[in-house]
Symmetry: D2
Subunit: 297 residues, 4 copies
């Protein structure tokens, strides 16, 4: 969560790693992991843990640790960990280097508010990631993106060309980005595409209490006189807008807000919620289990 700008920070961060583990709960997990790290010379600087339903449930932990000469020693550490600890506890686990920024491909259509919030936060040093590229099914936002020095790829999508378009997108992204942000990208992603980026595609959409079924949700919200406009950021799964929720927030509205205003407020809350979700993702703060996230923020 910290802003990493100064040399001192960069230096601190060089040897910092983040470990995420999920596994069936049983006694001794923390003891085994912490003992392993200690014996390998790693110093735990932060740790968050959560057990979902104590009996027969799942165990989740996020550990930040420092290890001298991390780059040189990480591979060995990982091999050892798999053998000595992970296998025994049937762990699903990963370690990432804090200094290795995640690379984002931001997908957009014509609306720019979510995209711009990410670009601004990135420019201000508040988003600890690289923005590798912007991909759009429309040419409209090129002029907004290129001044930031980020490549803009226009890949048109029609009903007929969807498959080819997705192939082009995958080709572009491959090796260049590890996470995809749908920043108001108004195309449905195919199951094949989603499979490539399991829990690495983040989407944002407006949300209401209650939800409004059918088209023109803002008009419906206005007619019902809702008092809150919300947004939900989630990982994309094959169930449309049904994946694990990462973050949600709302903003208060009143009868004075017409449909245009509700949309404007919706845009505002969308950009805030998406930016938070992306920042937690790139800082390895999110684990998922079934359709639920565990967010250590």
């Amino acid at each position: 969560m910290s802003k990493e700008g100064t040399a001192k920070n960069a230096d601190l961060k060089k040897n910092r790693a983040r470990m995420l583990i999920s596994c069936p709960d049983q006694p001794g997990i923390v003891a085994a992991v912490s003992r392993f790290l200690h014996e390998h010379g790693a110093n735990i600087v932060q740790s968050d843990q959560y057990t979902m339903d104590p009996e027969g449930g799942m165990f989740f932990i996020r550990i930040e640790f420092d290890l001298n000469e991390l780059s040189r020693r990480l591979e060995t550490l990982e091999l050892d960990f798999e053998e000595v600890v992970a296998r025994k506890f049937q762990m699903d686990w990963s370690i990432s280097k804090a200094a290795e920024k995640k690379k984002l491909a931001v997908f957009v259509s014509k609306e720019d508010h979510c995209l711009l919030e990410l670009l601004w936060q990135w420019q201000a040093g508040d988003l600890d990631a690289e923005i590798a590229m912007v991909v759009s099914n429309h040419p409209d936002l090129r002029d907004r993106v290129e001044p930031f020095g980020i490549p803009y790829h226009h890949i048109p999508v029609t009903a007929d060309t969807k498959r080819e378009a997705e192939e082009k997108q995958l080709e572009l992204i491959s090796g260049q980005a590890d996470t995809i942000i749908l920043a108001r990208y108004m195309q449905i992603i195919s199951p094949q595409f989603i499979e490539h980026y399991h829990n690495r595609i983040i989407n944002i959409h407006h949300s209401f209490l209650p939800a409004f079924v059918g088209g023109k949700p803002y008009a419906q919200a206005y007619q019902r006189g809702v008092k809150l406009i919300g947004a939900t950021a989630h990982y994309v799964t094959q169930e449309l807008d049904g994946g694990p929720i990462i973050e949600q927030d709302v903003q208060r509205v009143s009868h004075r807000d017409n449909v245009e205003n509700l949309k404007r407020i919706g845009r505002h809350i969308e950009r805030i919620v998406l930016a938070r979700a992306v920042s937690w993702h790139v800082e390895d703060r999110i684990l998922t289990h079934h359709n639920k996230t565990v967010v250590f923020n």
Copy 2:
């Protein structure tokens, strides 16, 4: 919104009236109303106005005014207003005396949190209403209510006796209460009953983003990992939980909150939201139009 306890306040309030008007918008409404009041010696102390869609839309106004010897002069004022102003502008209007508290019948089942919040706020002088009675389809909460000196009526309801039960309820309420608060009353009110209390029955229910269809919404919310738990207070119409929304709010939750916790937080937000909605209703701050409220708070 003010607490009315002291003699000075009571005195101030004695001559205070609240006027609510809705009508099709056209030029000259405010001029006509304010001129009328001025010429009748009334002094406007607060006024809120809203026009829904300037052209061909609806006009809403809430006026608080002081009039010397209000009690004696109100009837004449009302007759004059209907003749001189209201008819011309096709107004739907009402005037109520601030000193005449609304009388509430609170309907409950077994859960006490919403009921108790109302009783507490009433006891603290923060709810400017009388609680005329509590009506329940269960005997359970009698001991919670009677220490407050408020009658508790147990009227059992079964599928077979629903009609008779509602008749008994209506008989009890008639002349004793003008507003009904469903404070977690777990029975569906019949359309016949609702008709008697159009826009004078307030209900509270939990709300989620997104809404969860089907049973056990808290369990579903938990499984989806929602980050906000909300509540909605609305006027009861024949469409189940579909009436005009008066107030909504949310509270933040996390993966750490199990289903029990989510329910506890849900209870907390329900009591806050219901109490606000009731207090706006009893202070004549709410107008309705179709399925939408205009809340001047």
Copy 3:
């Protein structure tokens, strides 16, 4: 508050005026104003009113009205209003055309977050104003500003040159901007300067509960373990950071947030609060009385 982009909106807005009035309260004000407007063919589309302390207090009203051929008829209307209504009630009043955007001079030093939020909202059409220029005592932010097509004036300020610098600033602004936004401008404005722009200079600063006296407030807030970081936007008066408050908000923090994080969160809440305050100012939603604002939002 609405976004004004389409031709239809522009057309609607062409004849829209906003009237602000403060005066000692007495019976008949609303009647007089609304009758005057009605007789001059103006149609009130929105009106907000507030009386501060009914007896012997102050009366405030904001009226939006439409008047055919506003541009041609406004001057006469104003002359008539002064004579027929305003004088009698000792009104402090103004009318502005909704179509005539306020012109802002944004003052900055080296921090860009508040400036950029204004530029972005302006670019998105969410801020209904013109940004006439950016003025800075440092050259640093020129490259951020000029791509928006807005002139950037670097006027260095030292203890010795403060007076001349302010004179240059006044000269630059004169006729070009009617409102000054101190978007983290780290210089104290002289009383002489403030006088020229009474209630037209808006400042933003961080705020804590409780306030921390002395330097390094974020470090103090960290040491005390505060749970909320806030910001306050206010009109600038001769009392440092003591002018009428326009808007405030807070964001939640925890022990996990180090001083750097607290500052980052502070920046975030500052930009939101300032943008709201500016948008209410340019939409003529703010009246002031002594050291207090009345904000009709």
Copy 4:
């Protein structure tokens, strides 16, 4: 944080312990603690950890664990822990049984809102503590308290009798309560008294942004037109209202809220903030270091 009402929960809880540790940070702490617990048959069900400033900083951890036959085995475990782990790492530590509820003495004067919120949450089973007694320097609230079956002790306090009064209070509390809640108790507690209950006296007070120096803060807040009213709950130290902050929150107000309303809203936010702080304290979620809390909630 969970509601403990059902037999199943009680059973689960019987063997649940909560461990709080602070110590200077160094490598191996987590490994040592978790290994110790594992080897003693304890199963960690929740763990939160925080390191204040990685290099040369402080380490904080809260662990919830289950241990069969906890009551019988706890003493041995504690002795062993001190010897095997705590001494080596210079730990400040404690273990408490989840089933052993903290006992509260609630101090009040004449205002009842904070007291009642605690009584209500206790009655609803949402506050996992016993309320052992209410102590007041006034007789006024006796009738509010006794229906809850809780003893009410009236101990008058004057400038002359303050010392004796505190002695009587200490005598009453001794062995009966371990935590003192100042629920709007309008007397300053002496340093001698505070020493007996270090970090076990919780106070609540209103808070503003900015703070207002001098008397009548609500009147000052009104005159300055503040937009937020807040409250702060903190541990009592010898510096008046200067102890470690446990929780803070705010509620939005507007120019329409007169001084009476601001006070009413202040009462509302005070009761919410105090209730949260107390519930975190009784669930052993708070560690302190110098003048700062670490709250694992």
